[in-house]
Symmetry: C2
Subunit: 166 residues, 2 copies
């Protein structure tokens, strides 16, 4: 499975902090740096969690994680997903389904968006082309400015039926 895997092809990315991370390379190093920056330790359990998510290669829920790695403790996984999110390693995807989804955050995974099935809840990654992305950013910046919001990130997701549920 490939991290930093741009669904539309890119495989090399430059992080906010100047880190240049390559597909499949130094994932743990990058995660460790993020954690250290927030005074967290990169423990064995957190490594297991990161490996499990990397192996999945797609957004995962807690049941996904536990069934892939049954020896992990649910309460610790929840706690660690929170820690990883606070450290900028992981993004939480809140859908209408029972469970939240988690995936690696930028710059560990390149910028992309989500197709969400309103029936089974599956989440699939996709990319908008750079031109659209730029225009969206410009529109959002303008709207944020008018409303006095300080923008951090945006979501663009499409809700519909996946091939299995159609």
């Amino acid at each position: 499975m490939s991290l930093i895997n741009n669904p539309s092809g890119g495989a090399l990315t430059t992080g906010r902090d100047g880190d240049v991370v390559h597909a499949d390379s130094d994932l743990h190093g990058a995660v460790g740096r993020h954690l250290a920056r927030h005074d967290y330790r990169y423990t064995a359990g957190r490594r297991r969690l990161v490996d499990t998510m990397a192996d999945a290669g797609k957004p995962v829920t807690l049941p996904d994680i536990i069934s892939a790695s049954p020896d992990l403790s649910p309460s610790s996984v929840y706690r660690n997903l929170d820690v990883l999110e606070r450290s900028g390693v992981v993004d939480r995807i809140t859908t209408r389904g029972d469970h939240a989804f988690f995936e690696f955050a930028e710059p560990l995974l390149s910028h992309h968006h989500h197709l969400i099935c309103i029936d089974c809840g599956i989440v699939k990654d996709f990319c908008l082309d750079d031109e659209v992305e730029k225009r969206v950013d410009r529109g959002l910046l303008e709207a944020a400015g008018e409303a006095g919001f300080t923008p951090l990130r945006h979501n663009v997701d499409l809700h519909g039926y996946c091939p299995d549920c159609k």
Copy 2:
């Protein structure tokens, strides 16, 4: 307060079903038609709920609704929000906060998107200009096609800090 209130100015809209609804006019008529189409009754409680949401003029949570109309029964409000959502009257906005937000759906409220405060959870409406909106739609359609998804609607939301929380 104004329904069919396009944040960027429009005040007249044509619905999917050919209904032409004007600002502040015939809200109950339109809601009743949606419910009837799904074999639901437009009861007094549902009218109260619709009025409460219309009076709010912004996305509301269950506590918002109950504190504005304390005589409404929470279990019935939840059930009726579900009915209204199934009938296409209401959209549910799922955020990371404790409570879901609800607002009128298109075409009762014109197409728009959301600024979401990651601190206090407030949800504010905004519009993208039509050119950006068209390009996003085209990009989403393409991505949906490639993934075999049947597209229904899209969300574009910006997460950041509201003026009060910055």
